[in-house]
Amino acid sequence: MKQVDLVIIGGGSAGMAAAIQAYDEGIRDILILEKDARLGGILNQCIHNGFGLTEFKEELSGPEYLQRFVDQVKERGIKFKLQSFVLNITKDKVITYSNAEEGVVEIQAKAIVMATGCYERSAGAIQIPGDRPKGVITAGTAQKYLNINGYLVGKRVVILGSGDIGLIMARRMTLEGAKVLCVCELMPYSNGLQRNIAQCLNDFNIPLYLSHSISKIVGKEKLEKVVVSQVDEKFQFIPGTEMEFECDTLMLSIGLIPYVSLLNNIDCPTSSTRGAIVYDNMETMIDGIFACGNCLHVHDVVDFVTIEGRNAGHGAAQYIKEKEEHGSLKIEVDPNLAYVVPQFVRTPVKEDLTLKFRVRKEIRDKKVVVRHKDEVVFSQVKLVMIPSEMVILTIKKEKLQDITEPLKVSVEDR
């Protein structure tokens, strides 16, 4: 069986960043396995701008952003295989992939970085009441049809869910001549970035109905109309609030879910994000298997995916060079937080610790506090935190020497 030091599964933003970082730390024997016909992952179809503000202090389109990393991969001569789909991995880090040239191949890796991205929650997963006609499509698939293939899925569109792809597609389809009737969001707040609501909805006079959902889909074979109703605090439809929209397309932007089938198959522990539970070096609970990017938890902007990918590449490079024994402590969160990544910090702590989390609902004028026992190791005032924007904070390693108990992250009064 062929041996490779580092195999990276997924050649999108996370995977490329991990590969580049590991290379720059001295790992030369790297292989990126990408299922699609080109590197870059989902950014290939994100032709809008707004990428790279953190990374390059520029506003790039998705393809521009990804190309900068493709160039870096190629400059370094990092090997990658396209249209190569990983069928299976084992806990012992044997990877089985398939492609047309080589057939089904097994390789042994010293370390694996999982960078498989996420998939869209579909209509089936939320059980919208009513008929099941053709004309209900996820925003990302509609985006692929439009931006890669050049086809519009519909001319009169209602969008359910205010995730960023849905907002971006509201603008995109409007520009291509479709009429976007409204965006409705079950929650009392949007799940998209504020800037997207301004630039994609407000600028085009597309109404956003918060605390609204689809109470009925009508249409036998083809979608004819949807009924939008307001919901109460328990997400039950409020009678009398029905609005009917005649439309040919219901586009769903109702959430992204980490794509972790390969990890599930080897019983890798996962968190409430559905992604793997990881240490601060992005190593999962399975020795030598790392995870980063949207297959770990879904990010707001690609720049943070890139940073997390580097972190995983760094972790994998260290692991390959010299595997160190370490202890670990849990990072606990209070009920205001939906999750935190990483869930464990290795001890002794040798590097600054970056924590990423989301709040469950909007929180104003509070502070985020991280404690070890009773000692405050980090504290920062946050004027506003909303579920759709990931909070990232970094704790200096000096503060974390000699920790012996779990760290506790909480939201407290100022």
Binding site: Q83, S98, V104, Q127, P129, D131, R132, T141, I148, G154
Partner: protein, 481 residues
């Protein structure tokens, strides 16, 4: 006008097996369906169970054909290359007062000639570690099985077509004229088919088709069943088909693994007016969930990838109608084929041909009849070397197009090369499973659409999701107008 010896209306499981049985003989056979694919109604949306036959009332057609059909499935699954596993079923009693009913059911099984065994609570828990710990006992029926219902019908029709049957899709029958020695069947598109014998296997519409010839004393009163499908979850959530005790509404809500290692939970049972009403509603689904949890408390409903519904062709006679029309011996009505219809269909197909049509037409065997379909490719079951040999011969088998279900381009092209090729995205899904997984086609649909367009020489905007005029794409925005 096209002339046939036998014309079958409806290409669901029943019509498919009538066609397949007829294809052994030197007859001109037409198989008509109003849909854009075979097996596109009840045969597509059901529990996918090969029932053992413990439940139907002894002496009924349901009991007879279920038991006969069940015994035929090993051979059929082999000849038609369909995934089939006899995993057995457990009908569980959760409450003490259900135990006598379990014993009654055991007696009924005996009368039906079905092998069963009563198990005590400990034995049940041993077989099913995730069962409700309150379980008091169960009836084990080892001959029950799970099947891929999509492939069963497609492959049966494919085999029939390979042996000379003529399939006509998108042909909805609107009138039937009785003539001396036969019938003239007209379709919505204005086509006419003449046949000496007509078999009405129109499922949910079988009463309407029957009445085109003469009134009958039965009527279809469709009952909807709503289901959940859960993604490939760890194997072993349940090892058997788990049934509650049956009631007058049906066998109740079952929990089972599918042949694709998904889990299926359902069905509900509620009357509907319109046989084509396949809507789902949250209240019924919540009820399905609760009833299933009563048997298997730990079902991970957060792994649900789809809810769907199918309608049963329940009939006022509460039994299968398998008989000639009252005054037209050569017009055969097959109505009310609800559960256990899928398992019964091969036996019904054989009976209709050998015990009914044999008295109407001379049946001369074909010399070149082949009961087997051209073998399908089961990549997941192949050894590495076998698979690589295949990819060496045809590189398309190395290129994966559906990631969730791991389907290769080779399998997609193979489906298109067969005698009952998929004409729509959904038809392809039914054949190779592309789009059945957790992303529900989000990733693979554009690729499948591309292959369909290529194969049929269509523009992308002409490729249908399912029926005619269900094109997914509205317009090409890159084209100059």
């Amino acid at each position: 006008m096209k002339k046939f010896d036998v014309l079958i209306i409806g290409s669901g499981a029943v019509g498919a097996f009538v066609a397949r049985n007829l294809s052994k003989y030197q007859l001109d056979v037409a198989l008509l369906d109003k849909e854009n694919d075979v097996g596109n109604m009840t045969s597509m949306a059901n529990s996918a169970i090969v029932h053992s036959g413990y439940d139907p009332v002894p002496g009924t057609n349901k009991a007879k054909f279920n038991v006969l059909g069940n015994k035929m499935f090993d051979k059929i699954a082999d000849e038609l290359d369909v995934e089939f596993e006899r995993i057995g079923s457990l009908t569980v009693a959760i409450y003490e007062n259900q135990l006598p009913m379990l014993e009654d059911l055991a007696k009924r099984s005996e009368q039906n000639g079905v092998e069963v065994k009563l198990l005590n609570a400990e034995e049940v828990k041993k077989l099913e570690p995730n069962i409700n710990p309150e379980v008091k006992g169960a009836l084990l029926a080892p001959t029950a099985g799970i099947i891929n219902p999509f492939n069963l019908v497609v492959h049966a029709v494919e085999n029939a077509v390979d042996n000379g049957v003529n399939l006509f899709l998108n042909e909805e029958v609107v009138s039937i004229e009785t003539k001396e020695n036969g019938y003239v069947v007209r379709t919505r598109k204005g086509n006419e088919y003449e046949a000496k014998v007509v078999v009405n296997a129109a499922g949910l519409y079988s009463d309407k088709i029957a009445e085109l010839v003469e009134p009958v004393d039965w009527k279809i009163t469709p009952r909807k069943g709503q289901y959940y499908v859960l993604d490939h979850y760890k194997l072993g959530l349940v090892n058997h088909v788990i049934f509650p005790l049956p009631s007058e509404k049906g066998k109740g809500i079952l929990v089972s693994r599918t042949t694709s290692d998904d889990y299926i939970v359902g069905p509900s049972s509620e009357p509907v007016e319109d046989p084509s009403d396949l809507s789902t509603d949250s209240m019924t689904l919540a009820n399905v969930k609760n009833q299933a949890k009563d048997m298997v408390p730990g079902i991970p409903f957060n792994q649900a990838i789809r809810a769907f519904s199918g309608n049963r062709a329940t009939c006022t006679r509460h039994d299968f109608v398998i008989e000639s029309a009252p005054h037209h011996e050569t017009f055969i009505n097959l109505g009310g084929i609800e559960s256990p219809g899928l398992v019964s269909s091969p036996a019904i197909g054989e009976y209709v041909v050998e015990s009914m049509i044999r008295n109407m037409l001379p049946l001369k065997e074909k010399a070149n009849y082949n009961p087997r379909v051209r073998p399908y490719y089961h990549l997941k079951k192949m050894k590495l070397e076998e698979r690589n040999q295949l990819i060496k011969e045809n590189r398309d088998f190395g290129e994966m197009v559906c990631f969730c279900e791991q389907v290769s381009l080779g399998e997609v092209k193979d489906a298109l090369s067969r005698s009952v090729p998929p004409r729509s995205v959904k038809a392809m899904k039914k054949r190779v499973r592309a789009g059945f997984g957790k992303c529900q086609g989000g990733f693979c649909q554009p690729r499948i659409l591309e292959e369909l367009a290529k194969h049929y020489g269509l523009d992308w905007t002409e490729v249908n999701y399912d029926e005619e005029n269900t094109n997914i794409l509205k317009e090409n925005v890159k084209e100059l107008k």
